[in-house]
Amino acid sequence: MASVELALSAQDVSVQFDGLKALSNVSLAVPRGRITGLIGPNGAGKTTLINVLTGFQQASSGIVELEGPTINGVAAHKLRRMGVARTFQSGRLFRELTVVDNLEVTGVGLGHNRHHAIGEAERVMEWLGIAHLGGTIAGALPYTDERRVAIGRAIMCTPRYLLLDEPAAGMSEHESHELATIIRRIANELNIGVLLIEHNIGLVLELCERVFVLDSGEIIEVGPPQQIRDSDAVRHAYMGTQRDEPMPALAVDGAAA
């Protein structure tokens, strides 16, 4: 499907942990400059899939491709240098460093000298509107700011792809709207292909062009938001899980920012 456009893609990827199949024959593509969604109940394998796409987890079988070339087995830090960035559910900021140093150290990791890395860090903070946080020790940041800094760190030196692992978890509605604006700008202004993993399904349906639904390690549905909203399979997968509001169909439509 996505063969003509530039994309980060997985083809028939399976991951096995000691007999437990975390992913089975998953295929997914994240095109450049677009926002793709990945949803699914807890334990569906979403984070495992992100780990495979970013080099933190080896696929037991299947192919991972970055705009053509196969990237199976490429180490995580090398993939980041090739332009595949990610955030983590738990933030994972360098808690002892200031915000600007958090970004700077990423610039250094990507091979820049410190002066250039600081320049890029300041540019990114400006772009994200978090310049005022620069001198704060990352460990002292409130939750929402922590998320924004994590995104700032991930878009240092403008990667080609950005995989966001539940960036809106724990955010208020207002805050997730701000986040939605940022994610749109990342895709549109920076031409970054975004994969958004979220439990906040409203946010996913609002932002994404295409949504993949993962359940028990398998893709059970792919399509535009409308199709996901109407899908029986998706509705079924979410039934009985702990999600409070499985399909907030209407609440999100006015939210486009």
């Binding site: 933190f56 180490a75 830090h77 994972r92 900021l93 140093d101 150290v105 250094v108 990791g109 002066h115």
Partner: protein, 357 residues
């Protein structure tokens, strides 16, 4: 574009203050100290080199190493081979290659050469050990200590085996002891503010996120390992000149234990902590050494039993770990009193032992 003063400018105070403080100690000792006291001070300067070397690796990477004293051993023996007069070598160390048997270098040339030799060995060994994670790497460094000790204890024709090699020119004074400590501090400081040092401290705080930031953990650890080995190799070389004899027993468990205690007591995540820890423990060791000799009161000599010194240092280390887990310096750096800027050189972090990945 950046309004921040450069990293060098913000942090240069720390190495300057440390070096000047040590210079004051050297001058006072030279002026007022007895010969024995001067020797104690030289030994302290050499220990500062060792502990600063340990800090470069342990402090920046968060990994404990029990193997760095083997680098001291390698450096000391290399210096012995390079500086002992050929006459003596040809009798005691028959197994040396001919070119080495005929070599006779001065301390000023032999010391950096020994450091380089050790750095090359560390590069080879480190390429394997640095791939291991957390506690496995620490245990592997302990293995390195054992291997080096065994080789040097048993390769009689080259190292003289268990016995001592004599004849190394005794050229150490407080001044070149101070110079060695100053060089070690300068290298450690430059490493800490380098790109590699910054990246390595990020891996210490959050290894996974560091990976996701493009940082090659194995590479950065290896760089720190080699730099620290170089510093400790220099220390070993100077130690050989200090004692003028070397034997493998001097570079084994006791030295490993004492130097690690010094680092822990001072605070393992700051350069100032490394230096302050050595000074503090050296003062205590000297104190207990005198108490072991005994104090004479009315003809009765009251003394502590021999070996009390080691016990006391062990207890003090434990007490520090309990009440001041970040050491005497609390992982902070010495800086100008009025300069309240935050520093880019090491910051507090979780203890190395909690590292898991």
């Amino acid at each position: 574009m950046s309004q921040r003063p450069s990293v060098l400018w913000r942090t240069i105070a720390t190495p300057l203050i440390l070096t000047v403080l040590l210079l004051v100690i050297a001058a006072l000792s030279y002026q007022f100290g007895s010969r024995a006291f001067n020797r104690t001070v030289v030994e302290m300067f050499i220990n500062i080199m060792v502990v600063v070397g340990l800090y470069v690796f342990i402090g920046n990477s968060g990994l404990l190493s029990f193997g760095h004293i083997s680098f001291m051993c390698l450096g000391a023996y290399m210096t012995a081979w390079l500086t002992i007069p050929p006459m003596m070598k040809s009798i005691t160390l028959k197994g040396l290659p001919a070119w080495l048997l005929q070599t006779k270098l001065s301390m000023w040339i032999a010391t950096p050469l020994s450091g380089l030799f050790v750095a090359i060995i560390a590069l080879i060994v480190g390429r394997i050990i640095m791939r291991l994670s957390g506690i496995a790497a620490s245990i592997a460094t302990f293995g390195l200590l054992g291997v080096v000790n065994n080789v040097y204890s048993n390769w009689d024709s080259v190292t003289g085996g268990q016995g001592s090699i004599v004849g190394i020119p005794p050229t150490m004074t407080v001044w070149n002891g101070w110079l060695g400590a100053a060089v070690a501090i300068a290298i450690a400081y430059l490493y800490a503010i380098s790109r590699s040092g910054l990246a390595l401290r990020a891996t210490r705080d959050e290894a996974v996120a560091a990976n996701a930031s493009g940082i090659d953990i194995v590479r950065e650890r290896l760089i720190a390992f080699v730099v620290s080995a170089f510093i400790i190799g220099l220390a070993g070389a100077l130690y050989a000149h200090f004692l003028s004899i070397v034997n493998p027993g001097a570079f084994y468990l006791r030295t490993t234990f004492v130097t690690l205690s010094m680092l822990v007591v001072g605070g393992m995540y700051s350069l100032s902590g490394a230096v302050v820890g050595v000074v503090a423990i050296s003062v205590l060791i000297e104190l207990f050494r005198n108490l072991e000799k005994g104090v004479s009161i009315d003809g009765v000599t009251l003394g502590l039993p021999n070996g009390f010194q080691e016990v006391a240092i062990g207890v003090i280390t434990i007490v520090i770990l309990i009440y001041l887990p970040s050491g005497l310096m609390r992982n902070r750096e010495l800086t100008w009193p009025s300069w309240r800027r935050r520093q880019a050189v090491p910051r507090p972090a979780q203890p190395a032992l909690e590292e898991s990945n």
